[in-house]
Amino acid sequence: MRTAALVLLALVAATAPACAQTAQEIIAASDKVRNPGEPFRSTNTLTEFIAGKPRDQNVLVVFSKEDPATHQFRNLVRYVAPARDQGKMVLLDGRVLWFYDPNSKASVRISPQQRLIGQAAIGDVLTVNLAVDYAGTLLGDETIQDASRKDRQCWHLDMKAANDQAVYNRVEYWVEHGTSYPVKAKFYSDSGRLLKILYYRGFEEQLGRIRPTEAVIIDAVDTSLVTTFKFGDFHAQDIPDAWFQRDYLPRLQPE
């Protein structure tokens, strides 16, 4: 009996550091790792693998700026490749989402769910402060392997959508102790179905601190589909608020 009690005590003691930070603080610290604290532009290259073979590649330029009122990012996405999609644009500003096609010169308002469809799931390349859109619960401490199969001591968090702007209904999230590096995430649909598994990797210095510059997303519904993301060409840039008007979409120029 005494032995069991001691083991329990040891387990509790092992999780004690986790209790020093709340789940929300852990998520917010991880947000600071992922997202620069100033308006910026990045170029994201998405490579899709089907049954292990590279297939399509999408290149997107993303302009991101935090809204001081909501502390959430506003995003403007421009398609660069493939050629058939070049020039298409998506505006994502809270609940206001517009898709612009320069071929038809038409702007169509889209629902948050439509962030997850199309040649590239826009929802996966957005700059998002997860701590704003999700309410987290700390499930415990776990050592899991990262994308390079290296053991990482992580907090394991369960995050539920806190507002209707959250891309996914529920997210499981692993954040490394000490560094607050995001390691892994699992995304779930409204119905509770596991949709995607994401691993962060390629930690490099970008815009003032070490950040993940790559991600691998496994489609959990069809596991033969895997997409790698390479985030690069980070530039701090002044982005006027007027850029987040839908009528600005046809005016956005290549830089």
């Binding site: 038809s104 308002r109 769910q113 469809i117 392997q145 390479k230 290549p254």
Partner: protein, 470 residues
Amino acid sequence: MMARVGGMVLLVLVLGDAAALADENSDLDLIPDAATQPQPPAADASAAAAPNQRIYLENAFTGTARRGDLPVPFPPPKPSTWQERLFLDARKQWALGDRANVTFSDRFNLRAQDNIDFPGHENTINDFREGYVSWEALDRTYLDAGRINLKSGVAVGFNPTDFFRTRAVVDPLSVDPTVLREDRLGTLMGLGERIWQGGTLTVAAAPKVDNPTPVYRNTGLRSFDPSFDRTNAHDRFLVKTSADVAPDFAPELLVYHEVNRTSVGANLTESIGQKTVAYVEWAGGNRASLIDDALRYGRRTGTLPANAPSALPEDSSVHFQNQLSVGASYTTESKITFNLEYHFNQAGFSRRDWDNWFRIGGAPGAASSVPAQLWYVRSYAAEQQDPLTEHSLFLRADWVDAFIPRLELTGFINMDLYDGSSLVQVTADYYLSNAWTVGGLMIADVGGKRSDFGSLPQSTSVLLKLARYF
């Protein structure tokens, strides 16, 4: 005993936890070797500077089945039963320094079909869609001049506020409203636009530079001609503004003037939950009925004799008439987006107009000019891109990664609510690679013999296409 139970519980907990973590790490086995290699550098700064352009070459073959025994005889020539078309489609923008750019958009078609001579000028059709200069005179204040495709509206199937749509579409391959917008002629105009943090103001003025011409038929298209007769046959003015009146609500209001007709319009959208967007698009103004408009236009442009009596009862009264498109989009977790819309065109055919159209057109011994006049009214409405009928329902579905990755299925039904007849189109596009797309579509006019779509001379069309993007 208690110690043993406690120990076993702990053992189960520890073993269970270890198994869960092993499962957690097994997710890594799903990553293929090729994706575990270091990724090539993300597209560099040149990607951000990539020009705004789309250039592609497409070959499309269309086969059409005709109906016989129409209730109202279709005037000659008969619609084609096949068409082969090869076209080069280009849209490109060039920067002129930091604050100006030039846009050019064009489609060059080579075509052959069974009811046009070969070789002949009808085999080469060039659609000069856009060519304009844009200058940012002040920060986010723009002045544009040239041929501009100015599009308005938030609905999908019918855009009452898209005032520059009339006569602008040339010989389309698809009747999907979203595709029709891709190949339409812009209007020669000067345009000023100011975009600020909470809204936009746009002012456009399009001068008359040509005279109105008869409604075009597929067999009488101009070869190399800017076709300003389609877009600039009158002086036209548009003012539109939108403002963020609430965090999620930015209505757009429009005022449009052409000749002595002024229309007003509005566009409203609202997001409802995660999956639904509701929208309303409305326009209204003083005008005559569609029948009266068509007949007056036909007499003015010489298609109909100036003093010929109308076969249909004519109502020349001008009064305020509405056009409305109200609907919603809904997106499922399985990547299907549905748009359901109700369309109202107050100036369109009422039930009585339809009864008259079939009764008069099908009367035994009617002069050939009578069905010709009746069909003219319908072709006029099509060229104006107005719904012919007063009440219709539109349902469109777009399924990305349908059944297999890279297959996109699109379909729509446009139903006349008076008689239940429908225009149905199903399209399949398969993205063979980033450069190549293969696809096909089928169009069917479904309905009883004496119905809107059932009375058309074409019953079904099938198109096969191959496109190469550059």
